[in-house]
């Protein structure tokens, strides 16, 4: 895989995983400069926050406190999309890492 393409893909991650309805810990452009591990952990925490929001929504739905059903479903879809994006980024990163590890010197 081309290194530039991977970098471009990783650069997409924080912006794309930005929270939608509940703004939690937005990732700014400065933190991208903090290194790859910082970027990954930021993205992970954002996705985790969205999953936690979905969990809270589902708990409220189960206890009958949900305001409306479609909002819960939409938040669930959003967290699912974020998780899918996370998985895709992880796949690309791991693929690149394995390519480098298998390289004959």
């Amino acid at each position: 895989m081309d290194g530039n393409a991977l970098a471009a893909l990783e650069a997409l991650a924080p912006a794309s995983a930005a929270p939608a309805l509940a703004p939690v810990n937005p990732v700014s452009a400065q933190s991208v400069a903090g290194g790859f591990d910082q970027m990954v952990s930021d993205g992970l925490s954002t996705v985790n926050q969205q999953l936690l929001v979905s969990q809270t929504d589902l708990q409220q739905l189960a206890t009958g406190n949900a305001q409306n059903l479609h909002q819960v479903m939409i938040r669930m879809e959003e967290s699912r999309l974020s998780f899918e994006l996370l998985m895709q980024v992880r796949n690309r990163a791991l693929e690149a890492y394995q390519d480098v590890m298998k390289m004959q010197v």
């Binding site: 409306n68 479609h70 939409i74």
Partner: protein, 143 residues
Amino acid sequence: MDYSQSFAISAAGMDAERTRVDVAALNLANANTVQTPDGLRYRPLTVLARSAPVAFSNQVEQGLNSAMLTLPQTLVEAAAVEPRSVYEPGNPLANSKGFVMYPGVDVATEMVNMMSAQRSYEANIAAMNATRTMALKALDIGG
């Protein structure tokens, strides 16, 4: 994710349609209630849906400016319809001439409103699903 704006647009539409269904159901539920002697009666409600501008953070990127991006906002008001008076001399709530006042709810109109709101709700969900499918397909790029 920048798809959240599309989701928010569809969610606003769903909210509006749900209000319409709620109001139609309320009108239907109260269609056969009678005005009590103290003048208390049900007034049929109507939904006034209008489009109002909202502030999104990333409009420019989508090619939409704030004047274009308006979302439905609903306002529920009592409709100015006359009550329906029915001759029921045996009714304990009848007036001296034997008439009782029913709310002026047109059941057929309410049913049509409800069906239209239901279909519009489905249309909003279809729009949201299209957005979601596009997002998932975009994640398939290069995979």
